[in-house]
Amino acid sequence: MSDLEPIAPRYVVRPRRRASPIWLVVAALAALLMLPIFVNSYTQYIVNTILLYSLVGLGFNIVLGYLGQLAFANAAFFGVGAYVSTLAAARLGIPFWISLLPCGVFGGMVGLLVALPALRLERYYLAIVTLTMGELLRWAYIHTDAITGGSSGVAVPDPIVFGHALTTDAQKYYVCLAVTVSLYWITRNLLRSRLGRALNAVRQNELAAASLGLSPVRVKMIAFAWSGFIVAIAGALFSIVLGRITPDSFDLTQLLLHFAIVMIGGLGSLAGSLIGAVLLTAAPELLRNVAGVQEIAFAMLLILVLLLMPQGLSGLLTRYVPALRDRFFGEEP
């Protein structure tokens, strides 16, 4: 069995890069900004959920796809972000927009904590210990009722942004959109740099990376912190989109969902995170209402993708749309 999952296949990249025609960008931007006018509340809610889960996929992909570590701490990061943001607002009165960045930082710190075992443990051991950390956190949420509301969770107060309370899905949409686009842009910049190359190098050949003066330890810690940062912020978004958070939203099943988003969308691919989220967002929504059919459908989808498209859907798409391919260097001089 091979050790590494090849990330989405990349063929010859034509050096000539034409900038997307400006009208296309403007049209896309306009469409995104005017979306709430054309959709009803429920669809808006689904769109919001897609956005935040694409961040979940993005964050998870950093550790799973680019760094190549089987670290299942995503649900832990997600939960930390959700609880910190919600409790800050509900118990301490800290407005959402102020607590958002600290949430991310908190997630980053948890990420560093997770990086420690990642430096020492191999594959399945790492998977198990990270799963465990997530479950321990969940136990903590359940058993510190006074603060966290225990198993019944806590209601999320309307998020306050610059003094205004957001009550509709449309308002929350703009927040989700802004945050998602920003984090994708930042991640794209980080990947198209020394850091992106370092990530790939450490995944593919640690010994060779060391011979270049590149410290695998430092790269891993950065990757985990960055992943934690993004997914925690996604967790904060999750809390305001849903309106209520319970420990069940961060259990093993949810983690496996995150895993599926990455695998189906395509491991190690920016486009993949988005695709996976679009496809699987219905699943988290519906699975919560315990219905066997949805689980079966989800399982069949997973099985099909794994058997027929091991590179995930982004692998398939990048064959036809070269612009979707990841690149790891910046601009030409």
């Binding site: 990330i7 050096p15 930042i186 020394r194 790939n200 010994l207 011979s211 590149l214 260097f329 030409e332």
Partner: protein, 253 residues
């Protein structure tokens, strides 16, 4: 002239087997030195010790007057040494250009905040690195494959990519482990010319190789290893007619 690399009395044992026994030699700046010997002689182990992947049982490795015996590979690399790997150490899923770019910084300062926001300083740095990488590829004659994915290339070209990555940082010392494997005659000539050019610029090269013609044409000094010991050391002509060397390669008559 002070040697840039000094190896003294290095002994390495693997589970009771003596891989290197009391090996000593020095490498001067701007010199190309080759290490040859039959299979299993300990050549790659020697490289491992010098570059920090193998801890010697005894002995010392000094680089630019600094004792770096027992240092980890990353620290040694940052001190100014680069190496290639016998079985190939390229990053198969990155393009050729990206591979060479990984070789460029001598020290890895990520400057995360600036990179995240794509500040002009970072963009300039990246553009300069890309320019330098392309130059290096051009030097080795492989500029045309810059955007190919490294894993899809034939072995010889992969080797050249690895060498390009290794020389890109202009470090003081290069350790090349069998760089000539799989190269065509034209590519060999190119490589030899580039190495000589680098030596003229003051870079020291330690070379492990089996392709004898290449070694003889290039090496100013040749070390012969057998069973973990240095059995001969001298110029190509001296080695060619050295008894112990002939015996090691051809066997006793």
């Amino acid at each position: 002239m002070n040697p840039v690399l000094q190896v003294d009395g290095v002994t390495v044992r693997f589970a009771g087997l003596l891989a290197l026994s009391d090996v000593s030699f020095s490498l001067a700046p701007g010199f190309i030195q080759a290490v040859i010997g039959p299979n299993g002689a300990g050549k790659s182990t020697l490289f491992g010790v010098i570059s920090g992947y193998v801890k010697p049982e005894s002995g010392r490795v000094t680089f630019a007057n600094q004792d770096l015996t027992g240092w980890p590979p990353t620290a040694i690399a940052r001190a100014g040494m680069r190496r290639t790997f016998q079985n190939g150490g390229i990053f198969r899923e990155l393009t050729v250009l990206e591979n060479v770019l990984t070789g460029i910084p001598q020290a890895w300062d990520f400057r995360i905040a600036a990179t995240a926001l794509r500040l002009p300083g970072i963009r300039r740095r990246e553009a300069a690195a890309i320019g330098h990488a392309r130059e290096t590829l051009d030097r080795l004659g492989i500029a045309d494959i810059a955007d190919r994915v490294a894993g899809e290339l034939p072995a010889g070209q992969q080797r050249l990519v690895e060498i390009a990555r290794t020389i890109a940082a202009r470090t003081q010392i290069l350790l090349l482990d069998e760089p000539a494997v799989g190269l065509t005659l034209g590519e060999l000539d190119r490589l030899g010319a580039v190495l000589r050019q680098l030596a003229a610029e003051g870079v020291s090269v330690l070379l492990v190789e089996h392709v004898i013609d290449f070694v003889m044409a290039l090496g100013e000094r040749i070390l012969v290893l057998n069973h973990g010991e240095i059995i001969a050391s001298g110029t190509p002509d001296e080695i060619r007619s050295h008894d112990a060397v002939l015996e090691a390669y051809l066997g006793r008559k």
